[in-house]
Assembly symmetry: C2
Homo-oligomer: 191 residues x 2
DNA sequence: ATACTTTCTTAATCTAGGTTAAGTGCAAAA
DNA sequence: TTTTGCACTTAACCTAGATTAAGAAAGTAT
């Protein structure tokens, strides 16, 4: 059973025909590290589901500094939600940071599937609800925790990602400079 | 036409019967300033839609400091999403900060309405999508903008709220102390 | 293997924003 | 009407984390 179907069936159950229909509307592609799936200024046309590998989304702010928004590894979805739903150019980049096999679901097909399999409306609602809750928690953490505590939380939540992501990108995710991150890490190891 | 129905029909259209059914599952209540609608540790049973007045959600972190998550005025929804969907005790407070008339929709009725009016599944999906996008942007802003720039964005986005919310709560929302906010405001006025 | 590029580290210096403390103004109790 | 309490201000001092700069390590390409 494909990972993506397992993922969906965690929240809604599908008949064999529905599974087949769903899969027929998706496309599997492989990408090498450093591939850019989406550029800032482009319209995001697909949601990406990760079968293997790691992705990150980021933007580049005025200071020419990359700011990481999210990572996605096996079993996670990734897209520029703003651009995807508004159909306007977004400001996120999506990049492959570890060779990846992805399931591509175009926005067009996603909308089509909503009408053909209404249960999927529920599935994606739940998916986004969970994402919203996670973002709210991260927002509060960023406002009230120290960099050290945010790093600790990151380690607990994504223990398997730490070894697979360049350290400077973790630094960016938790919101500190690579230099400060390095210093902080050295301090933590000394304990 | 009730504000809440107008709000829903921005995204999906309802038949007169559906409108009536929807309204029959809600309840209108009035609350005075300082009423607590939800306490930390309680399970959030309702979504609140604001007909008039202002609400805020916040939590109290270890340092005994209130951290504002969100405000809601006319036409906005408010709930502790985490608690509402997980049915577990949350850590948010929801408080009335200006006398309010609210539409209450219990989680129970919301789930019931999902099955009776499947279109609502779409409505709430879209609502949450928009909320997610807003939270993502705020997260990125907190990671890459100065307090001054965050305040400026807040003023642009919620110009009508500024006069209605105690300044220390705006400070908390953008993530600075009341003292620093006061200093910053004085500096901005000098310009 | 060698050169080239990028990541990571260390350290000195700097600053946005926090902390502490004291005082002002004002609305609500009493 | 006084008192109490809260919201806001100002100012001195402090610190987490940024910036700058330079070198070390580790990939990557030639």
């Amino acid at each position: 059973m494909p990972l993506i179907i397992e993922n969906i069936e965690k929240h809604v159950s599908l008949t064999p025909e529905e599974k087949e229909l769903f899969l027929s509307k998706t496309e599997i592609k492989k990408y090498k590290t450093k591939s850019i799936l989406l550029n800032s200024g482009d319209i995001c046309e697909h949601s990406y589901f990760v079968n293997s590998g790691v992705l990150r989304s980021f933007n580049i702010n005025d200071n020419i500094v990359e700011q990481v928004l999210n990572f996605a590894s096996e079993g996670w979805w990734m897209a520029d939600m703003y651009s995807l739903i508004s159909k306007k150019p977004g400001n996120l980049f999506i990049e492959v940071i570890e060779d990846a096999e992805l399931v591509l679901l175009s926005k067009e097909n996603q909308d089509l599937l909503y009408t053909e399999i209404p249960k999927l409306e529920r599935f994606f609602r739940i998916l986004i609800e969970n994402s919203l809750v996670a973002h709210q928690e991260r927002l509060m953490d960023n406002l009230s925790l120290s960099a050290e505590d945010r790093f600790e939380k990151f380690c607990k939540r994504y223990p398997n990602l730490i070894q697979r992501i360049p350290q400077k990108q973790i630094a960016s995710y938790i919101g500190v400079t690579p230099e400060f991150f390095s210093k902080m890490k050295a301090k933590l190891l000394r304990k």
